[in-house]
């Protein structure tokens, strides 16, 4: 067997990841470096290319650094008004969905969970579809009916699922919640199908929401979503130890000092809020919230204190890159890019570490 084979065997003895994984801080710094690089590339590239040097200059000048202006005003407008909010939106949405996904996976103790599993996606989709059908345009702070109704729909769906599905005592596993989520989701999907059937020429707009995309990004929309996503994500990261306690189940967590019923409700609310805000500005971006936490766990293990921040950075990188790809391919939906690139990559990874990491 080759050296590669031997190193794989060695790695397997240690849960399929290096015995001495690099420290979380080192990984986080490296991730932030990659993210910064991705931001500059994503802001520079596009239908009108701006030289990377100029892009960096524009960004640094916008941050208040004394850089001489050596670029056209048009370039500055493109970078600062079009691309930068779009890239920052991708960072917030990708990072937020990754944190929410990790939180849902930990809360439900289910590796297949993602940010959409408890009804957020179907609620948001129905809200967005209804907004498209209403022949009435009201825009406040750059937020249209679609953003408001998808945000409200996501939260309302989770609230209904939680009310209907929690029963079974304080330590019952959340299987009931999961099943309720699927049931409510199916019902909402029926509503969505009906709305789409009635949508006629507006169908394309609904599809764009379902597939997700950053093309509607603006500073004002970012100003609505960013505080919710960032605040919610930070609050989730601060409760990482709760997710660790839940690794061995609800009763074990209680014995380890976790107020399970309370903390579970708080985390569920926070993760749903983050998801709803992300979905309202970017539509149903798929895959990032499922995959980013798993990729991080493959490297650093299940400790949520490390998984959550690193998943946020990785989710941000993935979505910035996917959005760039979507833009360069002629504004195709970003969900198509994340799925087409992400799914085979994820499958290959799972096959490579199968003995150690089973879903």
């Amino acid at each position: 067997m080759s050296i590669g084979g031997r190193s794989l065997a060695l790695a397997r003895a240690h849960v399929g990841r290096p015995a001495r994984a690099p420290g979380a801080a080192v990984l986080a710094l490296a991730g932030l470096g990659v993210l910064a690089l991705a931001v500059v590339i994503a802001v520079a590239a596009g239908s009108v290319a701006v030289a990377p040097g100029d892009t960096l200059g524009i960004l640094l000048r916008a941050l208040g650094l004394p850089v001489d202006r050596s670029w056209s005003p048009a370039a500055e407008t493109i970078v600062l008004e079009l691309r930068l909010p779009r890239v920052l939106t991708a960072i917030m949405v990708g990072g937020g969905l990754a944190v929410a996904g990790a939180a849902f996976q930990g809360l439900l103790r289910n590796p297949l969970a993602d940010p959409y599993v408890l009804g957020t996606a179907s609620g948001a989709a129905l809200g967005a579809a209804v907004a498209v059908l209403i022949p009435f345009r009201a825009v406040f702070l750059d937020l249209g009916l679609l953003h408001v109704l998808s945000f409200a729909g996501a939260l309302a769906a989770v609230a209904v699922v939680y009310r209907l599905g929690r029963g079974g005592g304080p330590f019952a596993p959340l299987t009931g919640l999961l099943l309720t989520g699927y049931a409510v989701g199916s019902l909402l999907a029926a509503g969505l199908a009906m709305t789409m059937f009635l949508a006629g020429s507006n169908l394309r707009q609904i599809f764009a929401f379902l597939l997700g995309g950053m093309e509607g990004a603006s500073w004002l929309r970012l100003a609505f979503a960013a505080p919710l996503i960032a605040g919610g994500s930070i609050a989730i990261v601060a409760r990482a130890r709760v997710l660790n306690g839940l690794l061995l189940g609800e009763e074990a967590a209680a014995h380890l000092g976790v107020d399970v019923r309370r903390e579970r409700a708080i985390l569920l609310a926070l993760a749903s809020l983050v998801t709803a805000a992300a979905v309202a500005v970017a539509g149903l971006v798929g895959f990032v919230g499922l995959v980013a936490p798993h990729l991080v766990r493959l490297i650093v293990g299940p400790d949520a204190r490390r998984v959550l921040p690193l998943a946020a950075i990785l989710g941000a990188i993935l979505l910035v890159a996917a959005d760039l790809g979507a833009r360069l391919l002629g504004e195709i939906p970003v969900g198509v890019v994340t799925a087409v690139v992400g799914a085979p990559f994820f499958l290959a990874l799972l096959r490579g570490t199968r003995s150690a990491y089973e879903l």
Binding site: L248, H255, P302, A356
Partner: protein, 265 residues
Amino acid sequence: MPPIAELAGVTVAYRERLVVRGVDLAIAPGELVALVGPNGAGKSTLLRVLAGLVVPRDGLVTLGGDPVAGLSRAAIARRLAAVPGQAALPFATRVEEVVALGRLPHEDPFRGPGPADHAAVDAAIERVGIGSLRGRDARELSLGERQLVLIALAVAQAAPLLVLDEPTVHLDLRHQVAVMELLVDLNRRDGVAVLAVLHDLALAAHFFPRLVLLDGGRVVADGPPARVLAPERIRATFGVDPAILAGLAAIDPGAPELTVGTRGR
């Protein structure tokens, strides 16, 4: 010495059904106590009452002299460590990471585990003798190995009282004895009080100096094994011929001491 844990006149009802009726039970520091009795006698419920997970309808529960009702979950976790039941881990988790979960009630909530926590995890792994399993995925271990890992988690929790709910269930005889010997050793050398729900009366009688027999939610006997497991009481409580117990112990040539029946005579 004041008891480390005490139940006084505790009655528990699930909806209208009484599962524990007026139980008095005191555990002294460093005591080794087995809770025995038929299925549905209320043994597991008593452990959960002690940990504050079930609120009794009536009676007083104290840990370290303070009423459990007034203690936070973290404060309870520092006074009582429960060995978790075997649960499927959702993600690949190293043995050392499982043991480290025992430090949750001690860690600084914001800075995470400190040197003292790492030292406690190392010491618990050493103490339970699972050093060779450290880097393994806990999901790939045998049931017996996993039970030792979960005990190490509770040891890392460093509480003066260790409670276990049927720690030997599904284990082969060798691992059953290994778990029992570990509990006795933790008790003798570290002075940890142990309260274990056990189904195997022979094991309980052999390793535990004090047995508490529960039936129908009541304590029907409390004392040394020879007295608690008197043949007429076994017949009355479990509805079986006590000779079965003696016979089971006698056919095991590797453990001639497990002769509960003869000891009881």
